[in-house]
């Protein structure tokens, strides 16, 4: 879903991961400009994955994707090193605004 919004806006999606562990591995392998990460993921959770990614690359730019009701976890994710967040259901304009903010 987020991938579609980004692709339609002209961004290239270089990789996708189904679990937190995969996300960390793919980050190390692909070094993308931006990561969009679900807060809740199978295996290693999204927050733990952010922690691992920012430990590997302190300059990593991670945008958290949160569902309504997960706002408490958003603070934890930002504490873990995420740069910003968007709340589902995703509105393309909000997602792109957040992406631009994170990419600076």
């Amino acid at each position: 879903m987020v991938g579609d919004i980004l692709q339609q806006a002209g961004f290239e999606v270089v990789g996708e991961a189904e679990t937190g562990t995969q996300a960390v591995e793919k980050y190390k392998q692909l070094r993308p400009d931006l990561v969009t990460m679900d807060i809740v993921m199978p295996d290693m959770g999204g927050i733990e994955a952010v922690r691992e990614i920012t430990k590997f690359d302190p300059g990593a730019k991670v945008l958290m994707c949160s569902a309504m009701g997960q706002q408490a976890l958003v603070v934890e994710a930002i504490q873990a090193g995420a740069k910003d967040f968007v709340v589902k259901p995703f509105q393309p304009s909000r997602v792109l605004e957040a992406v631009q903010r994170v990419l600076g």
Binding site: Q71, A72, V74, V75, E76, I78, A80, K83, D84, R101
Partner: protein, 137 residues
């Protein structure tokens, strides 16, 4: 609010809680203290407990360059940070509507959008909560 950096994160705290900012210097480690309590600092004859927010956020070490001398719960102590960035007034509607009750550690009381275009997200730290946890009040 005072904006400062901690291990790549942008943080903020109430300016009224800040007394001064001094360059980081070596501290005397306190045996048995939690890892995020760096130790004691002799600041012009006054002993201050200094904490590392980076370690509190789960980082193993940090490039601590400044110590924010703050007052929380009536006690003066030092908060070690990477560097002080800015002082900005933050309007009430810049605070994100997030529930922080379950957030890690309880030293962050919210998120605020800061910067001239509100394009940066800052963790708003609670100086009283940091004092309570660091000084075991």
């Amino acid at each position: 609010m005072l904006l400062f950096g901690v291990a790549g994160r942008l943080c903020a705290c109430d300016l009224n809680a800040i007394r001064e900012i001094v360059p980081a210097r070596s501290t005397t480690r306190l045996p048995g203290a939690p890892a995020w309590v760096c130790g004691l600092l002799n600041l012009r004859g006054t002993l201050l407990t200094v904490v590392s927010l980076a370690v509190r956020f789960g980082e193993e070490d940090s490039a601590m360059r400044s110590i924010i001398v703050a007052e929380g719960e009536g006690r003066v102590f030092g908060i070690g940070v990477d560097g002080v960035r800015d002082v900005q007034s933050v309007a009430g509607d810049a605070f994100e509507d997030v529930d922080v009750q379950r957030s890690a550690g309880g030293i962050v009381r919210g998120l605020a959008r800061v910067g001239s275009a509100r394009d940066q997200l800052a963790l708003v730290c609670d100086v009283d909560a940091i004092a309570r946890q660091a000084l075991a009040l």
